[in-house]
């Protein structure tokens, strides 16, 4: 190994191979005539689609090229190519190396400390042994075997933001071809070259209200990039927007708060529709066969003062079914009409094909922040089933046959009213998981009540728009990991998490029957999905505020999780 050379003769010896290497590399660069990387991204679309088979078998380690076949894989294996691993949102890995029998031998492999923001909320993506993570507005490519940085793209954090965006949370990237896509805290969509981190384009996509921000990971569908915003508690007007993957040009935008003349506008007097919330701050899911996007919307704004927004407040706290080519609304299902308790409906709408009461159904399964688990027919939005999972729940007397909650009439006022679940919800954005082999749906839940107060206020840019507040009732607050069995429509098991923290760790499952999650005591845990019994844990020393994923390199399976200000990777020795 040589550093800077001082001797002339020595320098000549070293230069010969070096110069030829330089010329060789430059020549190849010229041959390639290097078009923008996003143009390369398009070449993938011309390949035949094989959604069922293991795709990209000939992909070499370190060679980043994500094709439509990779995005359409039914279950992730070595690569994890989108926020939830695949379009269904089931966050289920087909890797089989780590099993209930050997899980106790898992050990830490590496820690990556991006040094920007805490807590990290990113789910890493892995392609061909290269991991992509974000921390605030920065993106990194890592050697997924060692955690060492291959490149780092910096982008300054924004000042003057409010609420969630002001904390610069970011949940990761989307990938297509040789490009990655990420949102910035101030709602810009960036396209970066996945091989260098170089910026290809930067499109600001939420203007006119500086309370807009972004914290999600983009979803790549066909040749478009789907993004939403944060700011639903801060008086922005929610939307989902699609941008051309190659050019960054906007293709369509669906406003979640109807404008003048549109259905549902009657809930939004005067210009309140411009501040009605309903933001799309988590990635949705996608069914390629039905050509339908499923995307949850957040709470209405102002959060607690419903007197100014009469009616159901469409399309807040809803699941939207949208045509990805046009943004046309196919159907919607509203979980919490006229929500008064901050019950966003952005929890992953998991695409499940399974037997329901004796008949094969194309379903959406989702555990909602309002305390109920729902099963819907995803071909038409028809309500099939609901089950209360929040042990303490008093805002609804039940769910009627059409899936509409029967209100208990608890209206926040200046004196305050105690409501369960609390404003943080009976579950939240942390991932759920569906195991298609056992038909178990795993998710984290949280038991708490809060006193909600309301007072009519005016929207003001630069300030949140809760119209007063909610305070969690002391002595409540317990987390559970739940396994809901879709075959008998009841819980297989529910395990309370021991610990003094309120965890925000999502759940994933694997083909060998394992589940993995961050608990309420700063541990990352691998457990047996059949019983919930923990098999292994590692004290990451920080609260897990993110959802796990799994990947493989040369057949070796890893679990990765962001915790606090670090990303951890684990594997068998």
């Amino acid at each position: 190994m040589t550093g800077k050379l001082s001797g002339v003769s020595n320098q000549r010896v070293q230069h010969r191979p070096a110069q030829s290497a330089r010329e060789h590399l430059l020549f190849s660069c010229l041959l390639a005539l290097l078009l923008p990387a996003c143009v390369h991204a398009q070449t993938g679309t011309t390949k035949p689609v094989e959604p069922h088979g293991p795709s990209h078998q000939d992909q070499k380690l370190g060679e980043i090229q994500v094709q439509q076949t990779d995005l359409l894989q039914k279950t992730p294996a070595a690569n994890w190519v989108s926020y939830n691993g695949d379009y269904s949102g089931k966050r289920f890995s087909s890797l089989r190396e780590i099993t209930p029998e050997n899980a106790s031998h898992v050990t830490a492999q590496w820690v990556f400390h991006p040094h920007t923001v805490s807590p990290l909320e990113v789910t890493p993506l892995v392609v061909a042994g290269v991991m992509f993570v974000t921390s605030a507005n920065d993106a990194y490519a890592l050697d997924a075997r060692t955690g060492k940085v291959l490149w780092h793209h910096t982008y300054p954090i924004s000042s003057g933001l409010v609420d969630d965006a002001a904390q610069h949370h970011n949940r990761g990237v989307g990938i297509l071809g040789t490009s990655i896509y990420m949102e910035t805290d101030n709602a810009h969509l960036l396209c970066l070259d996945a091989r260098s981190g170089s910026l290809i384009w930067d499109v600001p996509y939420a203007n006119g209200n500086r309370n807009y921000g972004a914290t999600s990971a983009p979803l790549v569908v066909k040749d478009e990039i789907l993004v939403g915003t944060s700011g639903g508690d801060d008086g922005v007007r929610g939307f989902l927007a699609a941008f051309d993957a190659k050019t960054g040009k906007e293709k369509w935008r669906f406003w979640t708060i109807p404008g003048p003349g549109e259905r549902g506008h009657e809930s939004w007097p005067s210009d309140l529709y411009l501040h009605g919330g309903g933001t799309t701050w988590m990635p949705g899911t996608y069914d390629p066969e039905l050509n339908t996007l499923y995307w949850g919307t957040g709470n209405p704004a102002p959060d607690y003062d419903g007197s100014v927004r009469p009616g159901d407040d469409l399309y807040t706290s809803c699941l939207l079914a949208l045509d990805p080519d046009t943004g046309r609304l196919k159907w919607y299902f509203q979980f919490s009409p006229h929500d008064l308790y901050d019950y966003d409906a952005v929890q992953t709408p998991v695409v499940v094909d399974a037997n329901f009461k004796g008949i094969e159904h194309k379903m959406i399964v989702t555990a909602n922040r309002n305390g109920f688990l729902y099963i819907l027919d995803r071909t038409n939005g028809r309500f099939l089933f609901a089950k209360q999972f929040a042990i303490e729940q008093n805002w609804a007397k039940g769910i009627d046959p059409n899936g509409r909650p029967i209100s208990a009439g608890l209206t926040p006022d200046e004196n305050g009213v105690s409501v369960c679940p609390a404003n943080g919800g009976a579950t939240n954005w942390y991932s759920s998981s569906f195991d298609p082999l056992t038909h178990r749906f795993y998710f984290r839940s949280y038991e708490a009540c809060a006193v909600f107060r309301a007072k009519t206020e005016s929207f003001e840019e630069g300030h949140a728009f809760y119209s007063t507040g909610a305070e969690v009732v002391p002595q409540t607050g317990h987390s559970y990991i739940n396994a809901f069995d879709l075959d008998n429509l009841d819980f297989s098991w529910r395990d309370p998490l021991i610990g003094s923290y309120k965890g925000w760790g999502g759940v994933m499952s694997t083909e060998t029957g394992l589940i993995a999650y961050g608990d309420d005591a700063l541990n990352f845990v691998i457990a047996d999905g059949r019983t919930g019994k923990p098999l292994w844990h590692f004290n990451v020393g920080q609260l897990v505020h993110a959802s796990p994923m799994s990947y493989a390199i040369d057949g070796k399976q890893y679990f990765a999780i962001a915790a606090g200000s670090d990303v951890f990777s684990f594997a068998l020795p």
Binding site: Q14, H15, A18, A21, D143, T146, K148, P156, R195, N207
Partner: protein
């Protein structure tokens, strides 16, 4: 082929091309650049824009800090974890600060005004994407290659002198992650590419096709580190002074425009 910097001293070249621009402290700046790479770049990045372990030194706070403040921080370290560097001596500390001021665009003699732009940016753009072939390796505003660093924002906070120096003497200083290496694997495969990461236990090399070769040391039989990056070192003979100034102007002016377009909005 003679390498440019062995034919002419950098100071002479800069003065010739930029005309009567005085650079009284270029020697100090070069010393500062070397010391900066040696002591600071591992944490703060070779361009001081921040790295894995240290914050950007181009922030308003760092720019506003007085030289005395910076001397104190470098000399004593910080409670946030930066170690003290008193051992490098006052001369080196002063040189590092001088170089940092160049990177910050606040060094004496450096200005960001239109009048200080030495050439024609439009002609520079034609050269960048044409005769000079910069685009084959560098990405600029979405167009170009990936094997070298993106230049969209490169000219921001950089002086024309610093940009010119980087073009004419690309390996002074040589950035660790740009170094060309020749690796032979245990299986006998030879890999020539750019060093992206290396420690005692493994090496990450990126080849011209964009592929990352991520090798544990147990799979490596030999590593030859060259003393250069991929960037050609003969631009002084390939391009005229005017053409070089045009490219410098293109990099600085377009970064300024990029600054305007990407940071607007909310």
């Amino acid at each position: 082929m003679l390498r440019w910097r062995s034919a002419f001293p950098t100071t002479l070249c800069s003065t010739l091309i930029l005309g009567a621009c005085p650079l009284p402290s270029t020697a100090q700046s070069n010393q500062g650049a070397q010391r900066f790479v040696e002591y600071c770049a591992a944490c703060h990045g070779a361009d001081a824009r921040g790295g894995d372990k240290g914050p950007s030194l181009l922030s308003p706070v760092s720019v506003a800090a007085s030289d005395d403040d910076l001397i104190r921080v470098i000399h004593d370290g910080t409670s946030q974890g930066m170690p003290p560097f008193a051992q490098i001596g006052n001369t080196n500390i002063a040189a590092v600060i001088h170089y940092l001021r160049v990177l910050q665009g606040t060094a004496a003699g450096s200005t960001g005004s239109e009048s200080s732009i030495p050439g024609n940016p439009a002609a520079g753009q034609d050269l960048f994407f044409g005769k000079a072939r910069c685009f084959t390796c560098h990405m600029m505003q979405g167009q170009g290659g990936f094997i070298a660093g993106g230049l969209t924002n490169y000219g921001r906070n950089r002086t024309p002198q610093a940009v010119l120096h980087a073009i004419l003497s690309p390996d002074d200083p040589l950035i660790h992650s740009s170094r060309v290496v020749n690796v032979t694997t245990s299986a006998g495969q030879r890999i020539t590419g750019v060093l992206r990461n290396e420690d005692a236990f493994g090496i990450d090399v990126q080849t011209e096709d964009g592929r990352f070769h991520m090798l544990p040391m147990s799979d490596v039989s030999d590593i030859q580190h060259t003393d250069h990056s991929l960037m050609p070192s003969d631009y002084a003979t390939r391009l005229t002074s005017k053409q070089l100034n045009d490219i410098v102007s293109f990099l600085i002016v377009s970064a300024r425009d990029s600054n305007k377009s990407t940071r607007q909005g909310n």
